[in-house]
Amino acid sequence: MISKKEIEKLAFLARLRLDEEEQRNVPGELESILQYIQKLSEVETSEVDPLFHFPELKNIVRKDEVREVDKKTQKRMIRMGKDKDDYLKVEFTL
């Protein structure tokens, strides 16, 4: 059983603040999922490799190069934040 304290720690690591109701319910909800997942321990896997990629697919890579971006696109990117000239204004961090 995952303890309430463990959940608190995981939530902090994941930068999530849980409200009181969540703090109460999440341990039980995760427990039922973890119990279901326990089924996997029945499977013999000592001779099996993990499947991370499908063999037919190869990574597509592109050159790491600086590309010119037109003014319109620059503005569009900046519009996502509060723009100030050609800078992107972000949250105060210190």
Partner: protein, 462 residues
């Protein structure tokens, strides 16, 4: 307007109907029904003008799309069903949107969804649940429930969704339309908001298998902006189709009415050129467990980018005393319950000491499942399963029990684990509600899949 894209195209090209009349019929349906179903989150009036200006010879001419709200359309809001992205405007078109526009399609609106595509009922949307047009007390399925409901209800004639564990196929089945998840790697995800990157695929909702194929042909292909895409398609024409039915799919917990519908569907396709045989894929029983771990792990990594600072959220001066607290508040208030649960589960599965026992173990089981399917496809061309174990359930019925909600995806997750193409199509009705049958093929063999699906579609419509 219940015509397919093909039928609509013909009428438009012959001048039997004008773009204005076509779009007006969709808009009036939206006006009449969207308040009841909440299928669409945004409606674009410009679609009419766009179609009027379109070249009539383009392959998607006449198609009118509802787009799941986790796919970026330039200059439009893209919320992913989340409060966190409520004010986020997409700065560019997703590759699939670019292709749809280039090939003659128009977009009528954005469709509701479970937050960040996490859910099987579209009840997890920050903008209220979507209701099933066949019965407003029931869910449309999820996570792409808005697309499926809009299409089934005559608000559009096509849809585009994402499928990580069944998010196209399960709602398509619940709403009585065709839903297709392509082979992993055939369709670009650039501009689709990531959930679990080793499973995510973009795919169509359609009124017919032929329409689904038409949309797939338009959106597929290699894209340097999605590093695992490929042009590969394997062609193999078959005169006779061998269909395998895994016995593991007729499990406990499956509703009697769904089982009945499956037996009826199977008996209808058996014939001269279709041979049905019972097969066994023992590892199917472990698919959902493996999926849960891998999905949650990838979710916890992908969701890290949503800090409430970089995307969308116009921050009020936060009460936070430092950045750490700002993250805790933004993410704590911005994400809904299901998203938070999955992030925590994924963080747990990836943490030191548990990584091998959970994540690596699940990836090994995933390999066994993939190999088991490969073996099964040595003796059959197509695998047949139910799409869902139950009929569409009531709103509120499963929302407080995450595990029973996740069990809705028990037959669909296998295709994502093994990267297979999978299509669901209506195979009948029970208790007045649609039932879907799912067909799977080998990776990159969409051609065989469509061939079989078109054949069965005719037989099941009779």
């Amino acid at each position: 307007m219940s015509d397919t894209i093909r039928e609509t195209q013909k009428k438009l090209r012959n001048g039997d109907i004008s773009p204005k009349e076509l779009l007006a019929s969709f808009f009036s349906r939206i006006k009449e029904r969207n308040k009841k179903t909440n299928a669409l989150l945004a409606v674009y009036n410009r679609a009419t003008q766009e179609m009027e200006e379109m070249n009539k010879n383009l392959p998607l001419y006449g198609s009118v799309f509802a787009i799941k709200d986790n796919i970026l359309v330039e200059g439009r809001r893209c919320t992913a069903g989340s409060k966190l992205l409520e004010h986020y405007t997409a700065p560019f078109d997703a590759t699939v949107i670019e292709k749809i526009k280039d090939k003659g399609g128009v977009i009528i609106g954005k469709a509701n969804m479970d937050e960040f595509a996490m859910g099987s009922s579209t009840e997890n949307s920050a903008f209220g649940p979507t209701r099933n047009p066949h019965d407003l007390e029931r869910v449309p399925g999820g996570s792409s429930g808005g697309c499926a409901a809009a299409l089934a209800d005559g608000m559009c004639n096509a849809g585009l969704g994402t499928d990580t564990g069944g998010s196209i196929r399960q709602p398509a089945a619940f709403c009585g339309v065709v839903g297709f998840k392509p082979t992993y790697g055939t369709v670009s995800r650039h501009g689709a908001i990531s959930m679990a990157s080793s499973f995510d695929q973009v795919g169509p909702f359609a009124k017919s298998v032929e329409d689904a194929e038409l949309i797939f042909d338009a959106i597929r292909g290699k894209d340097e902006k999605d590093s695992v895409t490929s042009e590969l398609l394997r062609k193999e024409k078959k005169e006779k189709i061998k269909v395998g039915v895994p016995k593991e799919c007729f499990v406990e917990g499956m509703e009697e009415s769904v089982k009945e519908a499956m037996e009826e569907a199977i008996s209808k396709i058996e014939g001269e050129d279709v041979q049905v045989e019972n097969i066994s894929i023992p590892s199917i029983g472990y698919a959902l467990s493996a999926y849960e771990i891998i999905m949650a792990s990838e979710v916890s990594a992908n969701m890290a980018r949503f800090d409430g600072i970089r995307y969308g959220l116009e921050l009020e001066r936060p009460s936070a005393k430092d950045l750490k607290e700002a993250y805790l508040i933004n993410r704590g208030e911005g994400f809904g319950k299901e998203v938070k649960r999955r992030i925590i589960l994924g963080t747990y599965a990836l943490s030191a000491g548990y990584y091998d026992a959970y994540y690596i173990k699940a990836q090994k089981v995933r390999n066994i499942i993939s190999e088991d399917f490969k073996k099964a496809f040595l003796s059959v061309d197509i695998i047949f399963t139910p799409t869902t174990p139950t009929l569409p359930f009531k709103i509120g019925e499963k929302i407080t029990d995450p595990l029973s909600m996740h069990l809705s995806d028990i037959f669909t997750v296998t295709a994502n684990l093994a990267g297979l193409p999978a299509i669901t199509l209506p195979c009948g009705k029970k208790e007045g509600l649609p039932v879907g049958a799912q067909l799977l093929a080998r990776r990159f063999q969409e051609e065989n899949l469509f061939q079989a699906a078109k054949k069965f579609e005719k037989l099941w419509r009779k």
